[in-house]
Structures are given as structure tokens and as C-alpha cells.
């Protein structure tokens, strides 16, 4: 099976938003690039290129993550903390508008000054958890509905997508093995019985 390396992935996609104010990078980083069927794995959604303790900061993101729903089963999402610097809560939303598409949205209620002064320049936006359910390769593609700085102005961003490879499991199923053994034992016993009778 052909492997794909994250670093060789998809390249950059430039989003030209109206009046972009700064460039950032939004990228996906799976915990593993290769998983086996039925294996649980996580996918980090990260931001970089922002300035630590300086503007611009990220106050709102509205992203769609597309994946192959025949290969991956979305389990849950954990939001990061950089849009809720004080743990007072942010507006978070996760939707699956269609099969194989997850929309995640987070809106910070923090003050612009706080975001600009306290937010890290690189951080985890969110972490998805998937289970591999089929073999093959699934692209993990991001699209941006909105990225905004602390004042709600759009931020331009380079998007780095990812993918995941799923292999079949190497271990036979125990039930089949025992069945086979029982069958073999049965055959053996049958032959033994026949030998005795003969």
C-alpha cells in the first residue's frame, strides 16, 4: 500500500479573502498517517503564523473538514483553548452538514486586546477523533468559511490539508480460528473413529 507523507501532502491553498490583513497557516496534523481498520486516531487542526502576544490573533474560525465517510467515522471533537483564554466560554459549534463533512465553528468572546496580547502564535484550534472503518486512503481537506482577527476582520490563510491511510488488520479473527480448529478436530475425531471401526 502506498503511503503518503504528511509533508508531501497537498500543498498550499491560498485563500484570498476580502481585505486580508495577514497571512496565517491552518493545517491538519493526524496523530498517525497510517492506521489499521478499526483503529482510533486523532487529527489536530492547528494554526500557525499568527503572532504571539501581538496582532493578529484569531477570534473566529468557521471551517469545513471533508473526509471519506466510507473510510472514517467521526467520533468527536475537542476545541482548543486559545479562543477562550480565560476559560469563560466561547461560542462553539460542530455540525455535519453532509455525510463526510464536518463544520466547526468557534467564536471568541474575549476582548480583542486580550486575544492580541495573550493568544499564542501557534496553537491547536481543535482535535478531531476518528475511527478507521475501511481500508484505503482518505483525504482530509479543509475549507474556510471564515477566519477573523480580533476585530472581526478577515484573515487570509494558507491551508495545509492532509490524508490518512487505512490498512486491513493483520490478526485473524479468533472465532474463525477456533471454528477451523474445531472442524479439524472433528475431522480428526471422525477419522479416528473410522479407524477404530475399521
Amino acid at each position: 500500500m502506498k503511503l503518503k507523507m504528511l509533508s508531501a501532502l497537498t500543498g498550499f491553498l491560498l485563500f484570498n479573502l476580502s481585505f486580508p490583513i495577514s497571512a496565517a497557516t491552518i493545517y491538519l496534523e493526524p496523530s498517525k498517517n497510517n492506521v489499521l481498520v478499526n483503529e482510533l486516531f486523532t487529527l489536530d487542526l492547528k494554526a500557525s503564523g499568527l503572532k504571539t502576544a501581538a496582532s493578529p490573533s484569531l477570534s473566529i474560525y468557521d471551517l469545513d473538514l471533508a473526509f471519506d465517510p466510507t473510510l472514517l467515522d467521526f467520533k468527536n471533537i475537542t476545541f482548543g483553548d486559545q479562543l477562550d483564554l480565560f476559560g469563560l466560554g466561547s461560542f462553539q459549534s460542530t455540525r455535519t452538514p453532509s455525510f463526510g463533512l464536518i463544520n466547526i465553528f468557534e467564536l471568541s468572546f474575549d476582548l480583542a486586546e486580550d486575544l492580541d496580547n495573550l493568544q499564542l502564535g501557534e496553537f491547536n484550534i481543535a482535535q478531531f477523533t476518528f475511527t478507521a472503518i475501511g481500508t484505503g486512503s482518505s483525504d482530509l481537506l479543509l475549507s474556510v468559511n471564515a477566519l477573523g482577527d480580533s476585530s472581526g476582520q478577515p484573515i487570509s490563510a494558507d491551508i495545509v490539508n492532509s490524508s490518512i491511510n487505512i490498512s486491513p488488520s493483520a490478526v485473524p479473527l479468533p472465532g474463525t480460528l477456533s471454528l477451523m480448529i474445531s472442524g479439524l478436530i472433528g475431522i480428526f475425531l471422525l477419522r479416528f473413529k473410522n479407524n477404530l471401526l475399521n
Binding site: S18, N145, G152
Partner: protein
């Protein structure tokens, strides 16, 4: 042929129209300028080609409408005969020509749906002045009032060089009137908005708020007042900028004498932005963008300590040039926070509509003018300057001459009450007035003043001035007139000196009029002191049998005079070559008299405003202790009414000083001063003027409602006399009056907390008149000022805090955020239009973030 291509429809800027559904109507009139019909007279040969969708350009015939929608509209080309330049503007965000309306051929243009290319959506302007001579006659009136927004939906070019520059009108969101889609009707000459038509286009934000308007001949019956509220003012614009030319009692005017009419820019911020620095620019764009706009001021709207953090008032001065804000000019207001101005921009055209002339007429009373003030030359000069401004407003003069003032320019010196001889009268008619624009003063040429007798019909006795020997002795004689009338408080009128008048007789004239002020009658010409004037057998001083010693507070102006002295200064001033007698003692006495605090001539003082629309706005009442009850007859009466609606006191008065204008439904008066024997007590909640057999003709609430705490900053050096703390703390309203007469010499803040009536009276002694003296940071909501503000505003770009209150519950919180989120990632439509806070045509998370910044409470918390 010059080609001008009118773009229509692009709204790139925030692009917020981009994704909005809208209809654009371009009316393409044509006709001959020789025609007398309205449209034919005013509109010209025009041809427009419109590209709709991907179709080829379609030529629309003249006098037709093009109806396109945002989704299909591409561009409009219009050509105008005689032009050789072509402009092209495409709808959308791809092609922007920021200079498109700055072109040589369409400069100064005023038509709608223009994209300014700077990140702001529309430039909407009102038509030019509505008048008989303007092309908008027969059109509709678009007064500037209320929230500015877009005050009209029709846009016509200016008439420049005998030609109309933009022969096109563009409509956005034509009105839907009474359920009938009259999308084109009201712009045509043959159609009109039916009576009773109401607001149209809720989401298009064009509202009719008055009704009806023209007959079948397209003649205006009643001006259509149209106010547009496109989504512009629902954007994230929590700043209000008002520019007014109201009458202010501010800083440099230490005594509430003449309220100066000046221009001020008032910037209000919403509370959640109180800590934000707002920046305001006012650009004069009258000259078009070919020339750099004139930036009147870049102002950081940060309140100083003690000031209202939410409001800043900038009075015009030499540095900010706000004084140059003029009517009938076009400005762009830019408001921004931090470094940028892209957030808000509006273009407004200053109009004269509903401008008011509004005055306070000063009253000289002992507690108001003190002897120290009389000797305060700077103050006198200031006062005179104010008085002249006042006169200017009372007698407005147009640039074209005196035609407007003839009926206002009547100043008289009426007969004296109880004066057996009938006092002399100074009559300065309009022929005697001239306005010296270079000096910005209004002058009555005293050499042309008639001196008449027994002329008491005028209702224009209004000026009350101030004399000061120091001033006159050094600056020459002014036209000093004593007003003494049965219904007037005796007082003095002072107008600026005339070049034709020398200084001779100055003192005498002043004394003469002061004499009237204190009850002395005039005497026959050239009368020496004779037997008519008794002499004190011991001192030989003259004792006037006619002097009203009661009114004059016992002051005998003849004290010290001997009949062998020169001409009685109360005699007619027809003999300037003669020597009049005024003793030093007289001066002292006069001044002392002015400073007395008792037994001032009593009056209730009513000021009215005369509007150009023939409406009466009763606005303010002054009262003085005491009264003169000699006239209890008349068809009018003043009635004070208590909180229960019961009459407290009633005083009938002679209608002589109230006048009516022919054809007007209501009484119209400029101002009336009425002696009245009532005190405006705290019980009075309403004052009515009633007319016999008619009933109440207008009423006024004498209260000054202080809706919020506010501070009055007393400038340190002004030596304001102290006041009783207990009074202040108890919320007594009349603190200002109580300020005087007590020693107080430090800066302090006075809190007003209750509703009450303010009697303003200040002593300017030692006050630096060049500095602010008495500030009312306008948190106070005075009924009078409210009216002033409302009625005198030039224009207002009103960005109120309604932004984001989608559920209209009065705040912006997570409920509103939730509402917005339901439209997330959807294009703007008529329903969610107001949620597009960044104007990009989509409701996005960016709008949500902007919403969080204008939430009423922290973190958009619920109430």
C-alpha cells in the same frame, strides 16, 4: 460627445449590496430644455445602455425605466450629449473605479448608488435646495431630520453652468405603496404617491414618513418627506455625529444673555465604546474629488476628566474650521476607531430645511448685570458681539441684500408706561440697517434713525443691551435705546457704534436711556431744568416729580443736578450740539441701581421662535421675581398650570405684542416679552398662552428636565461665587442662581439630579473670558436645548446603538448572536440584511465577531 457611464449597483465596498437582492431602477429621462414641463425642462438627452446578465447591451429608450436585479445586472452605460469621456462601472467587486464620480464631467454629481471605491458603500446625497427656482421644485422635499441615512431616493445632478450635470436619477428599492408595486410610479411626472402612502421597503430602508405630495399636474401639494434608511446605518456604527448650528450657551459667554448661534459637531459614542477612541473627519467634498477634500478636523474623541465619556462637543473655532460648515454644501463624515476610517462613511448635504432662528433675549436685571461687569471692557465687548449676533439672527439678511429683513427690521423705542409725555422712540427701520459682512456685524446707521413719537405698534422690540461708560467712552457712541413699555421690561438696547456717529453725547444718551430703564420719563426738547423740576431748597438739587422713584429703586437720576445746569439728559436728544447734564453721581447711581437686587421691574419673559416654516415653537420662559400688574386686559392670557392641570394664575395681556401671520393656522410670533405678576414657582408645570374665544394657542413646559446627572465645570479663575452645598445635594435645580453672591474660587463640579428650572446667572468677575467658563457637557437634556438641537441641526449622521439588536429587545447579547448564527454562511437577503455587519454580502462568523464587540454586556451575556 462626452460619454459618461453611470455605474449603478456596485457596492463593493463592503460589498454588502453585492450579495443582496436589490432592484435598481434607472430613470432615463430626456427632453428639451426649452420645454416647460418639469421633466422636459430639467432633463436632457440621455441614452443608456444596460447590460443585463450575459446579454448584449440593451438600449433603453428615453423616458423609460430599467429594472434589473442584483443577480443579473452587469453594468450601465450612459452617454450624455456633449461629453467625450466614457466611464464604465460594473456591478460587483471586480471593477472599481474610485474616480468614477470624480471625473471632470460628473464632478459634484449627486446621484445614487455610487460606489466610492474606498471601502464604503454608498454615497447618497440629497438633492439641492428645494425652492421655487431649483429644479427640485415640483419634486419633493427631503428635509434633513432624524437619522440621516439616505434622505432621498432620487438623485439629480447639480445645476452648474446652466446645465444639469447628471441627467439621471437612480432609484434603489422603489417604494411599495399600499401593497401596490409602484416601483416606477413616483418618479415619473405622471404618477404620484397617493395620499396616505406610507413607508415602503422595510428592508430597503426607504421610508416615507410623511404623506403625499403632488397633484395630477405634478405640482407639489405637500412636500414629500422621504427618509431613507438603507442598511448603512444599521451597520456597526455605534457613533453618532451631529453637526448643528444651534444656539449655544457655551464657554465664552459667561452670562446667559445672548445665546450665540454657532456650529458644533457633537459626537456621541455608545456606552460599550466609551473607552474607544473615535476619530471623526468631516470632509468638504463640494469641490469634488478632483481637488483634495478639505479636512475640517481630525478629532480624537476622547473625553477629558469630568466630561461625558460618551459625548464630545466641538464648537467651531479657527482651528477646527467647523464654523465653515455651511448649509447647501456637501460633506462626508468619516468615523472610525483606531487608525482607520473605513468603518463608517457618509456623505451628507447640508440643507437649510427646517433651520430655525432661535434666540434668547437677554434681560438686564440686577442679579444678572453687576457693576463690575459694566466696567469689564472685555466682557462688554463680548456681550456686544453676542448682541450683534443676536441682532443678525433677529434680522436675518441674505447675501443678496435686505429683501428678507424688511419686516423684521423694526426696532423701536416705544412709549413709556405711565409717561404723561410719551417717551421718545427710536425707530431703526430696515433702511437704516446694513450688514457689514467683512466685520460680521450688523449695524444700524444711527444717522438714519428716525425718532418718532407714539409708535408702539411694533412687536419687534426685542433687543436689550447693556451700556457701559467705559465702553462707550472709549469706543464711541452706539445706538443706545431705552425700551420702556407697558409690557416690556425697561431695559437698554445697545447696538454697535456707527461710523457716522461720534462720541459726543454718548454719556448723555446712555444716561438718558438708563433713565428710561429706571422709570424716568422723557422730557420736552431742550428743556433746561426749570420749575418743572423742583429743587431741594437746601441742596438745590433737582427733584423730579415724574421720576418713578419706585421703579427706579428710589434712585433719583437728577440727584446732583441744578437747574442752572445744562440740558436735562432725559430730554429729547434732538440737540446734539447742546450740552447735556450727567453728573458723575448719576453714573454711579445708575450703576448702583443696576446692581441692586431688589424690586427690579417685574416680568415674565417668553421667548418664541420663528421658523421659516411658519410654525411656532414656544421654547423658553424666564421669570423674574415680582411683577407689573397694570395690564389685566387683553385677548390673550398667560396661565400657569400646576401638576394637576389646575390653573394657578392667569394674566391677561395686551395682544399688541403678539402677532399673527396671515394664512397661518396658528399664532406666530417672534418673541414676546410680557410683564407678568406671577412667579414661576416650582408648582408650575405648564404655561399656556390662551387666546380669547380660541383657547390655548400654545403651551410650554417651563421645566428643564435634567435627565441624567451632569456636571458643570466651573473654571477656576472665574471666581464663581459659591453656593450652598445643601442645596446642591438636595437636588435643587436653581443652583446656578445660587452660585452668585458667594465667594467661591475653585474648580468644582456641580451635580444636578432632579428636574427643575435653571435660572442662569453668573458673575464674570475675574473670569478669563477666553476660556471656558461654564460648561454643560450636554448630558443634560434640556428641553430647550433638545429643541435647539433637533430643529437646528444641519445634518446628522446617526449611528445609533440599534446595530446588532436583532431581537429588538434593547440590548445586544447572545440572543442576538444566536439569531445571527442562524444565517451564518448565507448570503444577505432582505431578512438578514442587518446582520451583515461587515457589509460583505454574506453573514459570516466575521459578522458574529463584530457583533460580540458591540454587545451590551461583557461577553455578550444575557441580561
Amino acid at each position: 460627445m462626452i460619454r459618461i457611464i453611470i455605474f449603478c449597483g456596485s457596492l463593493l465596498l463592503s460589498g454588502f449590496i453585492y450579495a443582496k437582492s436589490f432592484n435598481l431602477y434607472l430613470y432615463i429621462p430626456s427632453g428639451s430644455t426649452a420645454s416647460t414641463s418639469f421633466f422636459e425642462r430639467n432633463i436632457f438627452y440621455t441614452r443608456c445602455d444596460v447590460q443585463i446578465g450575459e446579454d448584449e447591451e440593451t438600449r433603453f429608450p428615453a423616458n423609460s425605466f430599467i429594472n434589473v436585479t442584483s443577480s443579473e445586472f452587469k453594468k450601465i452605460y450612459c452617454e450624455f450629449p456633449g461629453r467625450d469621456t466614457t466611464y464604465e462601472f460594473k456591478y460587483g467587486r471586480d471593477v472599481i473605479n474610485p474616480d468614477f464620480w470624480a471625473g471632470t464631467n460628473i464632478k459634484n454629481s449627486e446621484f445614487g448608488l455610487l460606489f466610492d471605491g474606498t471601502g464604503n458603500p454608498f454615497r447618497f446625497d440629497s438633492p439641492h435646495v428645494y425652492s421655487e427656482s431649483s429644479p427640485y421644485y415640483g419634486w419633493w422635499d427631503t428635509p434633513v431630520s432624524g437619522s440621516f441615512g439616505f434622505s432621498t431616493h432620487s438623485y439629480w445632478g447639480p445645476y452648474i453652468n446652466d446645465a444639469w450635470q447628471i441627467p439621471a436619477a437612480i432609484l434603489l428599492k422603489p417604494a411599495k405603496i399600499r401593497g401596490t408595486e409602484r416601483s416606477r410610479g413616483y418618479i415619473t411626472s405622471a404618477s404620484y404617491i397617493p395620499e396616505g402612502a406610507e413607508a415602503a421597503l422595510l428592508n430597503g430602508r426607504f421610508y416615507f414618513y410623511e404623506q403625499n405630495y403632488r397633484d395630477d399636474n405634478s405640482k407639489i401639494i405637500k412636500p414629500l418627506r422621504l427618509s431613507g434608511y438603507y442598511s448603512f446605518d444599521e451597520k456597526l456604527s455605534p457613533v453618532k455625529v451631529r453637526v448643528t448650528q444651534a444656539v449655544f450657551q457655551e464657554g465664552d459667554d459667561p452670562i446667559r444673555l445672548v445665546h450665540m448661534r454657532t456650529t458644533a459637531v457633537i459626537v456621541d459614542k455608545t456606552e460599550n465604546l466609551s473607552n474607544k477612541q473615535a476619530t471623526v473627519k468631516i470632509l468638504d467634498i463640494t469641490t469634488g474629488t478632483e481637488n483634495p477634500p478639505i479636512i475640517f478636523q481630525t478629532t480624537e474623541v476622547n473625553a477629558k476628566p469630568g466630561e461625558n465619556p460618551l459625548q464630545k462637543i466641538f464648537y467651531c473655532n479657527e482651528s477646527n474650521k467647523f464654523c465653515n460648515l455651511n448649509k447647501d454644501k456637501k460633506y462626508e463624515i468619516l468615523i472610525g476607531f483606531g487608525d482607520g476610517f473605513s468603518e463608517i462613511s457618509k456623505t451628507v448635504t447640508v440643507k437649510e430645511t427646517n433651520m430655525l432662528e432661535l434666540f434668547f433675549v437677554p434681560i438686564i436685571t440686577p442679579d444678572r448685570i453687576q457693576e463690575s461687569i459694566l466696567r469689564d471692557k472685555p466682557f462688554i465687548e463680548l456681550y456686544v458681539a453676542n448682541a450683534n449676533r443676536f441682532i443678525q439672527q433677529v434680522y436675518p439678511l441674505s447675501d443678496k441684500g435686505l429683501t428678507l429683513v424688511s419686516k423684521y427690521s423694526d426696532v423701536r423705542h416705544p412709549e413709556s408706561v405711565k409717561d404723561p409725555i410719551k417717551g421718545s422712540e427710536t425707530y431703526c427701520d430696515y433702511k437704516s440697517w446694513f450688514f457689514d459682512r467683512s466685520a460680521d456685524v450688523f449695524i444700524c446707521d444711527i444717522s438714519k434713525v428716525d425718532r418718532l413719537k407714539n409708535k408702539t405698534k411694533s412687536v419687534f422690540q426685542r433687543g436689550i443691551g447693556l451700556v457701559n461708560p467705559f465702553y462707550f467712552e472709549n469706543l464711541g457712541l452706539g445706538n443706545v435705546t431705552g425700551i420702556r413699555n407697558k409690557n416690556y421690561k425697561s431695559a437698554l438696547v445697545e447696538f454697535i457704534p456707527s461710523e457716522t456717529t461720534g462720541t459726543a453725547g454718548l454719556t448723555v444718551v446712555t444716561a438718558h436711556e438708563l433713565g428710561h430703564t429706571f422709570g424716568l420719563p422723557g422730557v420736552k426738547n431742550n428743556i433746561n431744568f426749570n420749575e418743572e423740576y423742583n429743587q431741594d431748597p437746601d441742596t438745590k438739587e433737582v427733584i423730579s416729580s415724574r421720576a418713578d422713584l419706585v421703579k427706579a429703586n428710589g434712585f433719583n437720576v437728577y440727584s446732583g443736578a441744578f437747574k442752572t445746569d445744562k440740558i436735562n439728559f432725559m430730554s429729547d436728544a434732538s440737540y446734539p450740539s447742546s450740552s447735556y447734564w450727567v453728573s458723575n453721581t448719576t453714573w454711579v447711581k445708575l450703576q448702583e441701581n443696576l446692581s441692586l437686587e431688589k424690586d427690579d421691574p417685574k416680568l415674565i419673559y417668553v421667548t418664541f421662535m420663528l421658523t421659516k416654516t411658519d410654525k411656532v415653537y414656544p421654547m423658553h420662559w424666564h421669570t423674574m421675581d415680582g411683577f407689573d400688574s397694570e395690564h389685566d386686559k387683553g385677548v390673550y392670557e398667560i396661565v400657569t398650570i400646576d401638576a394637576g392641570g389646575n390653573d394657578i394664575e392667569s394674566y391677561k395681556f395686551d395682544p399688541e405684542f403678539v402677532w399673527e401671520v396671515e394664512g397661518a393656522d396658528n399664532i406666530i410670533t417672534d418673541k414676546t416679552v410680557i410683564s407678568k405678576n406671577i412667579l414661576l414657582s416650582d408648582d408650575v408645570r405648564l404655561i399656556e398662552i390662551r387666546k380669547k374665544n380660541v383657547g390655548s394657542i400654545f403651551s410650554v413646559n417651563p421645566e428643564v428636565k435634567i435627565l441624567e446627572d451632569y456636571s458643570v465645570e466651573i473654571i477656576e479663575q472665574c471666581n464663581i461665587n459659591t453656593y450652598q452645598k445643601s442645596i446642591i445635594e438636595s437636588g435643587i435645580h436653581s443652583i446656578v442662581a445660587n452660585i452668585i453672591n458667594k465667594s467661591f474660587n475653585k474648580k468644582d463640579l456641580i451635580k444636578l439630579r432632579e428636574i427643575g428650572t435653571i435660572y442662569a446667572s453668573l458673575n464674570s468677575k475675574d473670569c478669563d473670558l477666553s476660556s471656558s467658563y461654564f460648561r454643560t457637557p450636554q448630558e443634560i437634556s434640556l428641553s430647550v436645548f433638545e429643541q435647539l438641537d433637533r430643529l437646528n441641526k444641519i445634518f446628522e449622521a446617526d449611528y445609533s446603538a440599534h446595530v446588532g439588536d436583532f431581537d429588538k429587545d434593547g440590548d445586544v447579547d447572545q440572543n442576538d448572536l444566536n439569531i445571527l448564527m442562524t444565517s451564518r454562511n448565507k448570503p444577505v437577503n432582505e431578512e438578514n440584511n442587518s446582520m451583515d455587519l461587515d457589509g460583505d454580502g454574506m453573514i459570516t462568523g466575521l459578522d458574529a465577531r463584530k457583533l460580540t464587540q458591540i454587545c451590551t454586556r461583557a461577553r455578550c451575556a444575557f441580561n
